[in-house]
Amino acid sequence: MRILAYADRISVAPGESLAVKVSCDGLDRYDAELVRVIQGDTNPAGPGYREERIELDLGGPFAGRHQALRPGSAAIVEPFPSARLTDGLTLAVALWPTLPGAGRQTILAARDPDGGRGFELALDESGAPSFVLSDGREEVEVSTGRPLVAERWYCIAATVDPVSGVVRIGQRPKRHYSAVGDSGERDHRDLPSGGFVPSGQRLTIAARSGADGHLHGFFNGRIEAPRLLSGALPLAEALGSMDRPADPADPRLVAAWDFSRGIDTEGIADIAGSAHGRLVNLPTRGVTGRLWQEHMRDWRQHPEGYGAIHFHDDDLCDAGWETDFTVSLPELKSGVYAIRLFADGESYYVPFCLRAAGESRKRLCFLMPTASYLAYANNRIGIDVPETEIMCGRLMEMHAGDLFMQAHPELGLCFYDVHNDGSPVYYSSRSRPVVDMQPGWVGKLGGVGSNLWQFNADTHILGWLEHIGIAYDVVTDEDLHLHGATALEGYDVVITGSHPEYYSLAMFDGLRSWIEAGGRLIYMGGNGFYWRISFHRDRPDIIECRKSEDGIRAGSPGAGEYHSSLTGEYSGLWRRNGMAPNVLAGIGMVAQGFDESSPYWRTEASWSGKAAFAFEGIEADVVGDYGLSGRAAAGIEVDAVDHSLGTPPHTIVLASSRIHTQLYLMVPEDMLDPTPALSAVETEVIRSDMTFYDIDAGGAVFATGSIAWAGAMAWNGYDNDIAGITENVLRRFLDPDPF
């Protein structure tokens, strides 16, 4: 991929504009055009790739240039009153390293970028704390020589006494075992002759400033309560000072940062003076610190237990690229569009939603699940996680895009990845190139056949809407989050994507109140309404999910870390928030498997009764034994009725799947006492239920309970029973008559 790009927004209305940020690798020029995305599956067995070029001059060709991706989180304090340290200094900090020994990592640095005059506390190559002083020519380094053990709390202190010319460093584990040998101290006589105080006023935490103007030497792990005092305290006193909060009244205190303040912000507060700082690339806040105790659950109630920030060398929240050009969107019909950038046989798509202009809303709306696209952004599960081959039941296919992702981890992570230090990823952002959110992209978990996922899988739905010729608008998760039910006001019917898994409270409430006011929802997927996410308060491009308790997940947040740092909400399964998907959809997730899907067997209710309209004209007893996602209609991730979880009592089951492979296993949240009979071969719990329920106000929900549904609709050029059932439901839902 020699072109990468992203835009500032993912949802725009006609008249609004989109700022496009592009990076080229060895391409002098590129051009751009606007396309409407219709069908992104390139499988020869599929309905055929389709996009519509829109006549609009975007101003190209443009000059290509390279823009870098620079992951790694840190804090920057500027201005920092360095001059107050001329007569000596004491630096103390608490630390919970996660990758000691994996390269040199800066803990705190105040060094001039050119020449390095100043001081720096770091973990050296061996993982031992080390203090460096430099006058720009001569460098003195003193290490404790005792490598830290990963994931243990330590206090580290360093002192410099310019009168005696002694520099000291020491470390003390929170819990001492003499057999481990991870406490100790060292001293050294001889300071650099030209001093150790930087001439500049910049201090960095968890990274150092390089001569190239960028941050380097990123730290992996937690840092808590760093403080600097003027003058050299005795080392034991400096280490002991970490047992107490810094005292703002102490005249020697130059700066002390209390990370338990402003956890839901990107600022760090200096309680001694005004050396406040800002965070870069969203390190993780609201994590347990050295003072955390077992009764603490929520950082809002016990901030003192959450005084640490977890930094990662692979955090990336905003690529911060310059804008190459801006597109002002004309009055076009609402839809999923993309800016296509191209040069030299290379092509890159930046998709976005164009909403309806003002009052011109149509009756049908496709709710584009952009939060779920973000949750899976640049997903590395098929590359990094070897067991994915077991889950897919066949060899992993590495497309050119996968090889690019393997080569370029700097694209950043998503909720299905773990950080380099093994900790779970809590944040995802769209302010970076999201390479797997493009038409044409082949995924990993989409089943035997086309193997599509999220954005591109949803183009099976867009293609079908185009095929049946019913006009629709598009609204995104972001719109639903920001405006609640108002975002859907005026629509009679809403269609979801194939996998609308991630919902914020405002989204969940917005969709539910729209149904309660008479809206009719076609839930055309599986694993929907599953995880509770939080959006950043000021930036809808950033979401957070902490997969607390259980659910299918890449990692487990630590004890006491189940609350979002962005909002304080209790994160995790909606089911663990008392709002299982069943409450809204009628069904909820029961299993996943990424090989073969199953057909549906019809129930009596599909032949006669209130919901039989769905099967009007359908003769077969078994439907959907074909498809592009696992070669049948029910699969990948499947949902079923569970009255104990809030499925409305009058929910009608029209059909259910039966034959899933043994890769389909009961989800952890359903598994109480594990038995050896938890695969789909043996347990009836694992199935897709196709359901319908309505409410008095006229609202209704039709649910398919299968991610593979859309891939079956697209089978045989959208001419099949699954597409027929969906069209029956859609036409009936558009008819205002009560059911």
Partner: protein
């Protein structure tokens, strides 16, 4: 990592896998699934993967590196034109890697 060790006693499951590939089915016996779990659950470093040369048409054989950012190694002179052929070839390679012996069962489909 799997505790189960594949041995000559698993030969019937190799036969079953060959038949299932021919029958184009993903519904395997528990015994075969156990063999596949061992083979497919191998760690990332050195793991066999298919490198797509032409989507839905042509694949090379690759081996994953241990870490993010490192290059994927291409196994020289191996190319497949259908996925069943690839599955069977990798099954045989893994059988040899895990038991030290050649499986010695004919490939399905084209030779």
């Amino acid at each position: 990592m799997s505790r189960y060790r594949i041995s000559e006693a698993d030969r019937p499951y190799a036969e079953e896998f060959r038949r299932n590939l021919e029958a184009d089915t993903y519904y395997h016996s528990p015994g075969l699934q156990r063999v596949l779990n061992v083979m497919r659950g191998s760690p990332k470093a050195g793991k066999y993967v298919l490198i797509v040369r032409e989507p839905h048409a042509r694949w090379a054989l690759g081996r994953m590196p241990a870490a993010r950012g490192e290059p994927v190694e291409i196994v020289p002179n191996v190319e497949y034109t259908d996925l069943k052929q690839a599955e069977w070839d990798v099954f045989c390679r893994r059988w040899k890697d895990l038991t030290g012996a050649d499986l010695g069962i004919e490939r399905p489909g084209r030779p």
